[in-house]
Symmetry: C2
Subunit: 235 residues, 2 copies
């Protein structure tokens, strides 16, 4: 059995947080818009009615359909064994995953502070100001928070020696910020040893190693959430 994952082709975007956890767990999925085209995604979304996804990514299994990254991961984590395995732990993981969603949304707002459906070129001045605040205030505040969360156990993962969907998302967060803000990340990474150790441990998982070496892993680019505009970066 394999899930259908529906997400915009051509970018890692929010879909990548779902892909990474499924890949790490060895859970099969078909990346439908990459195989069938973006029109198939638009058609699939349009034909749904009632309580449906607001936007991709969403995961489908027959009649079952679930959207919202943190929600997909919480559900799939419990089902496929990459959650905590107990309710108290799963609730903590969901809280962390939702906080990752918050910084991911802020990372997108940096290059689209006015509106997501306007071009970057039409909001560059606002983006420059947003980027300065994000680099100097927001990244450190979120990183301190995740560093503390990783202190709750002995690492390298949030749960200790067992990875969860929070770890694969922290990996992607670090990778995305390294791509978007290489100068800033180089300047501050040394302050967040546990976060970087978590990122490194995720990179060594068998499923992740295979995935990163495969054609399934798209490159970061300037259509996604994490975009490298040199004018938005600084140490």
């Amino acid at each position: 059995m394999a899930y259908d994952l529906w997400y915009w082709p051509g970018i890692q975007g929010r879909g990548e947080f779902v892909r990474l956890a499924l890949e790490a767990a060895g859970v099969g999925y078909r990346d439908r818009a990459r195989s069938d085209g973006v029109e198939a995604l638009v058609d699939d979304l349009d034909r749904r009615s009632g309580i449906r996804p607001y936007a991709p990514p969403y995961l489908v299994d027959g009649d079952f359909c679930i959207a919202q990254v943190a929600h997909i991961l919480a559900w799939a984590g419990e089902k496929h064994g990459f959650g905590a395995g107990d309710q108290a732990g799963d609730l903590q993981l969901i809280m962390l995953q939702l906080t990752i969603s918050d910084i991911v949304a802020e990372a997108h707002n940096v290059h689209h502070p006015i509106a997501g459906d306007l071009y970057y070129e039409d909001q560059k001045d606002a983006a420059a100001r947003a980027a300065e605040n994000f680099r100097e205030q927001r990244i450190p505040k979120f990183f301190r928070y995740f560093e503390d969360a990783l202190s709750a156990n002995d690492g390298p993962f949030v749960l200790g020696d067992r990875w969860s969907h929070v770890d694969t998302s922290l990996f992607q967060l670090v990778e995305g910020l390294r791509y978007a803000f290489p100068q800033r990340m180089k300047a501050i990474e040394g302050d967040y040893a546990k976060l970087i150790a978590c990122r490194d441990a995720v990179a060594e998982l068998d499923g992740i190693k295979d995935y990163l070496a495969s054609e399934r892993r798209l490159a970061f680019n300037e259509d996604g959430i994490f975009r490298h505009y040199p004018e938005l970066d600084a140490a």
Copy 2:
């Protein structure tokens, strides 16, 4: 037994989505920063370590602590009977609640597009552009989505004749947008009859009627998420 709810005093903010569901369900809670002061909130947040709330609101019950609005509501809804009562239904409610979180975050970005910790006065030009897009593109897109969700059953609530945490949140969303964008809401509300009917039905719940008439319900103001800046509104 009563929960401790920790949230910034003086504003409805994100805490209001939690308050409304607890009030509708008749679940007891102490609004700690309103009784003990904002310093008590800062102290409580500071003393927590490891896996802790990134920001208020959070709900505490002894050693148990949970943050993130949609997550608090999903957990409390299952525990106190204002969820769906079955897993498939609860998963749908969580997806909707997370989408409400998304439009609430966008409503905040309208008046703080550059950064949340800068003054509105220092980002008014960007806010004016963000507001135009939010009024004309985003509100209708989200409202169509919620209108469809409310079509899944016979109303007035998402689940039909039984309210859930999604309905109290939709109530607050409509109230907040009416406060922030009165001209725009007056112009478009007629297109979203089910959403307005849901809002009206929530307003008639006994717990909500009592709450709205009490001093516990703060007024909207220009420190919260939904702010009325006349220059940001238009039909």
